[in-house]
Symmetry: C2
Subunit: 359 residues, 2 copies
């Protein structure tokens, strides 16, 4: 089965490219002092442990869009895929600074690890050191990602499209994060439309639309095909985020491994909450929503109120709408000859691999 | 005097380009909500008030290196100059977040202005909102700057050099800032060599070497000429920073407008302090160094101890060494035909304009 072998080739190649990029940066950093080189090494340790969901999505779809290229991985696609992972990690770092997060999936994140690294310092000093380092490393990885797009070994018209793509992606992701912070401070009111737009911009654009569009662009697809895949990415990304929101509140926490009810304890403005705010159940939910000391008993009662007021059903319905939209978009694109049926199928397969998993 | 007119033309053009860039971003931001558009407008207000020292340096030197181009401003040079100003403002924003600064030149900076903009919020919430916004806006301006370099309307070999230049600049500036944070937490020991290297990387690279190198590159100068100007920029930038350090401690505060003795109150690890640490005077200086409530009387006594231990004389000597180095580099470059005597003179004139002023 040559296609399976090539998929693994590409993943191996991707991991190699990322390891090489970090090794290069770590070596390079030595000239600026051992603390700076240590920061690069710690970053490499944390960043290389990811599941590479976004770059793998790019490579899968790229392969489906260029079925006749044989078993040799396309180097430009692998390179852009690796830089999408660097962009992801840059966003994570600044997001963790903004959210004050010190862990990710129950283990210390880079900030948590750096803060624990100064024996004898006060907590305030340790956190300042760790967060300052994360802001600066985020800047370096953001720069590295954009420079990777700018230096792509592709014809100049494709590079122009790549630069527009990375620019729009960064703008939307930052705008989404800014809206998320504004929602969390109550600076803008939480309603369903605002929360859905925020989710699309903050997550779907860079996690789904970006890899899909980059795959299309690098495979030589038309601008129309790329636009279709942008819409497909938004809808898949939104469906994915809504699924993740549902799991955290209504899911089986032993099965999906997320911190049970963490969104309720953190007061996260999800579509579930935005819907519930407009119902009669909200006065019963609101007093303990966002309480850091929310007990399991209280959380379970809150979950039942959220179910009772129709929020779960509403969000399940939204996911269905997004996926129906994806099927319609892909059928129409296939009919119009924008993409092959193989490519359409590959997108659905990749989407199903993501379902219910933490990206 | 056509050359004077052209210098003003370029400045006018530069201000126009910057205003247009911000106007474009403000318009574009409306699609992502009024809070996000407000952030862009507030950023434009603050960023457009600067003295444009770095872009003007680029344009002056570019003009001196291309004396025969007539009165028409070189559009690629104006464009890159504008993007250097965006890079500067991106660095300022993240620097202000890291340093916890809410003012610049005794007026609220962007963070201070944003924090004051939420009536009724707690101080902690206001600061979190303002700093999160500044991190995100810094990301956008950093991206805009790199994309400006990537899209420069120049031949591809020049664009390759521009990308290498902006990459090295960002790496060194971030490394310098990281060392500065490490010094402020006592994570690395403060000695003269470390502090001087930090100053070169944090300030000289992007404020001096970057505009000089970009000017050379865009004027079609050789790689050798660009390397010479990199060295010249490091030395000028270091001299400038040391002069600024001296002014804060030993200068006439009514004349230069800086907050009197602010470096002593903030515990800033300057070359003055690094020198004094290795002298017998340090035990008398150290107890009140970095005290936020340092009185004018104590600061004056500290200044006299710093003068007495030889720190002022030492730093004055360092400045002389840097400037001697600049003269030697420029003479040698002139002799080797790397740059014209007009260009060498223009660099010295630009340098003298900067002397003793806050960039």
């Amino acid at each position: 089965m040559p296609s399976v072998a090539t998929r693994e080739d590409m993943s191996t190649r991707l991991e190699e490219v990322l390891r090489q990029r970090f090794a290069f940066h770590c070596d390079n950093a030595e000239a600026y002092g051992s603390e700076f080189a240590d920061l690069w090494r710690a970053t490499a340790d944390h960043a290389l442990g990811g599941k590479l969901v976004r770059p793998r999505l790019l490579l899968d779809i790229h392969r489906a869009l260029t079925p006749d290229t044989g078993d040799e991985p396309d180097l430009a696609a692998v390179d852009i895929a690796a830089h999408i992972e660097l962009l992801h990690y840059a966003f994570l770092l600044h997001d963790d600074v903004i959210d004050g997060d010190l862990t990710r999936r129950k283990r210390p994140n880079l900030i948590g690890a750096l803060a624990a690294g100064i024996p004898g310092a006060t907590e305030e000093d340790s956190l300042h050191w760790a967060r300052s380092s994360a802001i600066l490393m985020g800047d370096l990885l953001l720069s590295a990602a954009i420079l990777g797009f700018a230096r792509a070994d592709v014809p100049s018209h494709a590079r122009t499209r790549l630069l527009d793509l990375v620019e729009q992606t960064i703008l939307e992701t930052v705008a989404g994060e800014h809206t998320d912070v504004a929602l969390s401070h109550g600076i803008i009111p939480s309603d369903v439309d605002t929360v859905l737009a925020m989710s699309v911009y903050k997550t779907a654009t860079y996690s789904f639309s970006l890899p899909l569009r980059a795959a299309a662009l690098l495979a030589g697809s038309s601008v129309a095909a790329e636009q279709t895949l942008e819409d497909v990415g938004r809808r898949l990304g939104l469906a994915y985020q809504l699924q993740d929101d549902l799991l955290c509140v209504f899911g089986d926490h032993r099965a999906h491994g997320k911190d049970a009810f963490s969104d309720l304890r953190e007061g996260k403005e999800t579509a579930i909450i935005a819907f519930a705010r407009a119902t009669d159940a909200w006065p019963q939910i609101s007093p303990r929503f966002g309480a850091v000391d929310l007990t399991l008993h209280e959380a379970t009662a809150m979950r039942d109120l959220l179910r009772g007021c129709g929020a779960e059903r509403f969000v399940v319905g939204l996911i269905g709408e997004q996926l129906d939209g994806v099927y319609a978009l892909l059928s129409e694109a296939e009919r119009a000859g924008q993409i092959t049926s193989d490519a359409a199928r590959a997108i659905l397969v990749s989407a199903s691999r993501l379902e219910g998993r933490q990206v």
